[in-house]
């Protein structure tokens, strides 16, 4: 599907993406400053950043942060998800 009157995506989304990019940069500075880089979530974040170098980025970042296993777990011991797969590290 395509719009009847396509707009330039850079016009539409550059400022928003620029702002998010600076937020990511500041987040990484903050984590380093506070010495929290060992956290498995941060390590998963760094791995996921590598996916930005090629096409299909959104899907690749999500795959990078996903549990890649196929089997059911024996029992749910928590209800929450944390956004990164702890089994990777």
């Amino acid at each position: 599907m395509k719009p009847a009157k396509p707009q330039n995506p850079v016009d539409l989304y550059f400022m928003d993406a620029r702002s998010k990019l600076i937020d990511i940069a500041a987040f990484m500075d903050r984590v380093e400053r506070e010495g929290a880089t060992d956290d498995f979530r941060y390590q998963a974040f760094l791995e996921a950043l590598k996916e930005l170098g090629q096409a299909d980025r959104a899907r690749s970042v999500l795959l990078s942060l996903s549990d890649p296993t196929k089997e059911l777990i024996p029992a749910a011991t928590t209800k929450a998800a944390c956004g990164a797969w702890p089994g990777k590290g």
């Binding site: 599907m1 009157k5 059911l72 749910a76 990164a84």
Partner: protein, 267 residues
């Protein structure tokens, strides 16, 4: 504009939200049964919840001239307790004849555990026995990929279920293709942080078309935006889409799926 909100937990919202939604053009709201934010202590709590979803909430919505529909189940977050979950499933058939019930949902998986799968199988069987539509909740964040594949594979393996009567909700870029390839419908949930933003949702619709993909706010007691759907329509307008396409995405597509239930009737 006119739109259908296919997924909203209105029991957790205020009457102000009803006013805002109707003002924005909402023509129907659909409410799946879900987790209350805490575990209910017995099946009696669910009995009351099902009465709320099938009697009280439609009456509350009617005060704002908004048709209200619901889906029934025990959600996967409370499926780890098999005794409770089985008791709750036994309650559902007596509510399936209520005039606003669309089907079984939002069922699915949360942490992809064995007990969650056992209860998911019972729900799918219930839907098959009673020829009900199915609405599926897929797990959050790192658990979504695995859970979506497990759920789609389970439903596909049941020959009694027509995939075109199944909607897999909360799809994202890494799960949407699996759902589309299975012949099912997909829901994209618009959340401020998790799930999808409007621009990402529109990207997915541009890639896969609007024939079997809808957007919803899934607004509840957590961080969520009850007007997320009309805001996404505004985003489509910004991208240069015309009124006809916006009507297709936000009204005709959900109407087509939901009209597979005889109970889904708009005035």
């Amino acid at each position: 504009m006119r739109y259908i909100e296919p997924h909203a937990h209105m029991v957790s919202r205020t009457t102000d939200d009803y006013v805002a939604m109707v003002t924005a053009g909402c023509k129907a709201v659909c409410e799946p049964a879900f987790w209350a934010g805490f575990d209910r202590s017995s099946s009696k709590g669910f009995y009351d919840y099902f009465r709320q979803l099938t009697e009280y909430e439609p009456a509350r919505a009617a005060k704002f001239h908004l048709p209200h529909f619901s889906w029934l189940c025990i959600n996967p977050k409370e499926s780890e307790d098999l005794v409770l979950a089985n008791e709750v499933i036994d309650l559902i058939p007596e509510f399936l004849d209520k005039p606003n019930v669309l089907g079984i949902g939002e069922i699915g998986l949360n942490k992809n555990s064995r007990n969650e799968m056992t209860i998911l199988e019972r729900h799918v069987d219930l839907a098959a026995q009673h020829q009900q539509l199915i609405l599926v909740h897929t797990p959050h964040l790192e658990d979504k990929l695995k859970g979506t594949q497990l759920i789609v594979d389970l439903i596909k393996s049941d020959s009694r279920i027509d995939p075109s009567r199944v909607l897999i909700d909360h799809v994202e870029e890494h799960t949407v293709k699996y759902v589309m390839d299975a012949g099912m419908w997909g829901g994209i949930t618009l959340y401020p942080e998790s799930k999808a933003t409007s621009p990402r949702a529109i990207d997915m619709i541009e890639a896969y078309g609007a024939d079997r993909l809808w957007m919803n706010s899934a607004c509840d007691w957590g961080v969520s935006v009850p007007l997320a759907v009309p805001y996404a329509a505004m985003e489509m307008r910004r991208r240069g889409y015309d009124d006809e396409t916006i009507d297709q995405v936000f009204y005709k597509t959900p109407l087509a799926f939901l009209s597979q239930s005889q109970n889904f009737k708009l005035n």
